[in-house]
Amino acid sequence: MTTLLMITILVLVSIAVWQITKIFQVAQFNSKVDDSQVANEKDNDWNGKLMFAFLVFIYLITIYSFWEWGDVLLPEAASEHGVDYDRLMWISMALIFFVQIVTQALLHYFSYKYRGRKGLKALFYADNDRLEFIWTIIPVIVLAGLILYGLYAWSNIMNFEEDENALVVELYAQQFNWKARYAGADNVLGDANVRFLQDYDGLNLVGIDSSDPNGLDDVVVQELHLPVGRKVIFKMRSQDVLHSAYMPHFRAQMNCVPGMITEFAFTPTITTEEMRQNPDMVAKVQKINKIRYDNSQELIANGEEALDPYQFDYLLLCNKICGASHYNMQMKIIVEEEKDFNSWMAQQTTFAEVIQ
């Protein structure tokens, strides 16, 4: 398949080059001073028509992209604020599409309609304050609406009160993996610093200060479990370079910065199990497994191992360039019912148990 595509491209390129050389032979025989390289009526005509065709092309590529790839856009939001986020996104998108369709139509239609003809004179039309006013004030009004809505949503998302009920979780980033630290029974994270990382023969995975009693019941894990319907306040840390904790299904992202603690909060609303049953997700997973099956056939034919079938899981990805394995810095997120979460948590070892 790859080779075929490459060959096609090569062939196309050689045809292009051959055509160009031919044009050159035609274009070269006369080289006295003239204006033959300035567009004439014929050039205006066919380029004007192509401008119109280009408008059709822009519309077609838009329609085709939505038709073919529309299913990859924004998967269903799995957090409380995610629903608001999506609403704002689709309002903005609708607006953008409206403006895009109209302005591109005007631009390319005018380019086609007013393509130059001999003997024609353009309209001398240099100014119109009224028009300028109209197309200043309309964006002002529309943007004012968007700004207000955006800022309202932003402050709802970012100004989370430290409510008692919220689960506090630390996301800890390092080249090239993630760890999560739960605050334990007291729901208070113990102090931590990179200076403590070498204590206890490297068992102190995220550098908890063992002299801080709040830290003793902390739990460090490599797989993020979240109870559904309960607010989670994330505290992000990094031990080496910048990372970014990106959880696309929850419309959540925050950078992890060495030397400081950053925060983000959301309330998961759909468990992993429920998401796996979601019809859109089922279709997506089927599509992916079909692709993986096809790729596996090729791999098996080459004597390599087949790919595992895929099952949906929420993801935490690194979204800030952090080095060679940036592309593979991930952690699985499992959203589950509170009781499942509690029984999972009961099986984990606390920091005090680890360092004993």
Binding site: F54, W69, L120, L131, P139, W154, V194, V241, S244, G259
Partner: protein
């Protein structure tokens, strides 16, 4: 100052190498910029191959990357290096120096009616510093551990710690040195442009009669002078952190089994300093392209540019706003969310002058008599990509919406369309339009048409689908997305994008061929091939230092008297006096 003052004897060296003639310096900028552009675009094609067919062996990798592509498979570190150097080269070396350097130098003296820049010597120094910084940047490709690979934004600590990645060793040092020299070059150039525009305008060339190209170059130079020094300070502080153990940007770091001594610095500080230049930089790249478009659209539409005053006002508004929006690159950097609100507000305001510009361009075309020369096509193309790319800025500039698309391919699609492709189209429009002025010969129009149409289709083919993989949640700067089965259904899109990119790359060969061929064998040009109003077309075709043989022409009208009623021709150059009873437009 008379023309005689410049009639000194020119040797080969003073004429072609250490020239102080703005026209020669402009050509030097253009050719250096094009060479850097070839390198930058070639790099993007290499990493596009990797993205479409991840971890597949390619012969071309083995031959170009050597030991960095064992058995022809690209190494992840090299992927990051290619992305980094592609970004750096395209943003700074091609679209800043190559675009501004070329056309500010060529057009400022010629369009305002000056014999040269205010300081020919500084102008020469500016070019040679640019040349030197290009050489250092290219040299960094050949160091043992590879060139800088921390992304073109070189955020520390990744860029500060050699332990973090191989590219953060000597490669990063050379990157910083190269950029420091580049900034010096850019500052000398910008100061020269500002002084020249303010002081050396010919008689009658009031600020309100300036062509919009000059307004754009002038304001661009001011933005450059305001913001580039801040990047220089960021670079110097980073050099201190890297080499002298200071802690401006670093704190609490544990890497490779070792706690480092850095205390109290903050990477967020670097982000502020970087984007204080980084965002205005977008407009440093874009405004000259818009200026060129204004000129090319009006000339080829045979119509006055619509809303001259509004165009000047929007350039000024964009310039002002551009310096107070940098924080929209940092909504999720950990800075105070309240700052995020402020930056959302200022950022979305920029949409207003941008919209005014787009509407004015469209109205300029209305009822015109469009001469669809290649330069005109690229200018129309610019307006198209400027709109498509600009609109998604409404999403990215909104702090809320940015949360989920930040640093994904959605951003890549947005800025490539709005500043990458648009500015590149501006560069091409400028080259097609002013090639006769630069080289005394015409570019072949048919090759120009082929170049435009293939590029235009491919630009949308490459960047439109990228919005989709971005909205699907795929982060940028991933060596491959095979580590996430969840993204397997995006593999097709990546193949489509790469095929379009390869064809677009091939189309640029057509341009290069046309450029080189026409430089030596192109049709000799007539005095004013596009029947344009501006002063540069009154200067003799054959270059000499001093621009005009006799007196500098006086200016009697603005630059946009196209198709003015009462005149036989459909253009009235700026040096033609008003007829008896003819009124100049109030503008």
């Amino acid at each position: 100052m008379g023309a005689d003052a410049h009639h000194h004897k020119e040797t080969f060296i003073t004429k072609y190498i250490f020239s102080q003639d703005h026209k020669m310096i402009s050509k030097q900028y253009l050719i250096t910029g094009l060479i850097m552009g070839i390198v930058g675009i070639a790099m993007s094609l290499l990493f596009r191959l990797q993205l479409a067919w991840p971890e597949q062996p390619f012969g071309i990798f083995e031959s170009t990357l050597g030991k960095w592509a064992p058995d022809g498979v690209m190494d992840p570190n090299v992927y990051l290096a290619l992305v980094t150097i592609h970004g750096t080269i395209m943003v700074f070396f091609v679209l800043t120096a190559g675009l501004s350097g070329t056309f500010s130098n060529l057009l400022i003296p010629l369009q305002i009616g000056a014999r040269d820049m205010a300081s020919g010597f500084l102008n020469m120094v500016s070019y040679w510093l640019f040349f030197l910084s290009s050489v250092v940047m290219l040299a960094s490709l050949f160091v043992e551990a590879g060139p800088a690979a921390a992304g073109w934004t070189i955020y520390p600590p990744l860029s500060a710690l050699p332990q973090a990645q191989p590219g953060s060793g000597l490669g990063m040092t050379l990157w910083l040195v190269s950029m420091a020299i580049f900034i010096a070059s850019s500052l000398l150039g910008s100061l020269n442009y500002i002084v020249t525009v303010i002081n050396l305008r010919t008689k009658g060339m009031s600020m309100t009669r300036l062509p919009l190209t000059i307004w754009a170059f002038f304001v661009t130079a001011i933005i450059g002078v305001v913001s580039f020094p801040v990047l220089l300070s960021a670079a110097l502080l980073l050099i201190m952190d890297r080499s002298f153990g200071t802690s401006f940007f670093l704190s609490d770091i544990f890497i490779q089994g070792e706690v480092l001594h850095y205390q109290g610095g903050s990477p967020v500080l670097f982000e502020h300093l970087f984007w204080f230049l980084g965002h205005p930089e977008v407009y440093i790249v874009l405004l000259p392209a818009l200026g060129i478009t204004s000129e090319v659209l009006a000339t080829n539409a045979r119509k006055p540019i619509f809303g001259y005053r509004a165009m000047v006002a929007s350039i000024l508004a964009i310039a002002f706003l551009s310096t107070i929006v940098w924080g929209h690159h940092m909504f999720i950097s950990g800075m105070n969310p309240f700052l995020g609100s402020v930056f959302t507000f200022t950022t979305l305001l920029i949409a207003i002058p941008s919209a005014v510009k787009a509407f004015n361009y469209i109205t300029t075309l209305w009822k015109g008599n469009l001469q669809l020369n290649p330069a005109m096509l690229f200018s129309i193309g610019l307006v198209s990509t400027f709109i498509t790319g600009g609109l998604t800025g409404i999403i990215l500039g909104d702090s809320t919406l940015d949360i989920n698309v930040h640093d994904t391919y959605f951003v890549v699609a947005h800025f490539h369309l709005v500043m990458g492709i648009s500015a590149l189209y501006g560069l091409f429009a400028g080259v097609y339009h002013w090639f006769p002025k630069m080289f005394g010969r015409m570019l072949n129009k048919r090759l120009g048409y082929i170049h435009f149409w293939i590029t235009a289709v491919c630009a949308y083919g490459v960047f439109f689908p990228m919005h989709f993989i971005g909205m699907a949640g795929l982060p940028r700067r991933y060596y491959t997305n095979t580590a996430f089965p969840y993204f397997d259904d995006l593999a097709d899109i990546n193949v489509v994008i790469t095929i379009f990119a390869l064809i677009a790359g091939a189309a640029q060969i057509v341009f290069l061929y046309n450029f080189i061929q026409s430089m030596f064998y192109g049709k000799p040009t007539v005095q004013n091939p596009w029947k344009s109003n501006t002063l540069e077309w009154t200067a003799p075709i054959k270059h000499f230092h001093g621009n005009w043989e006799g007196d500098i022409p006086e200016v009697h009208r603005w630059a946009y008297d196209y198709s003015k009623p009462g005149h036989k021709e459909d253009y009235v150059p700026q040096h033609i006096p008003l007829k008896k009873g003819e009124k100049e437009l109030q503008h």
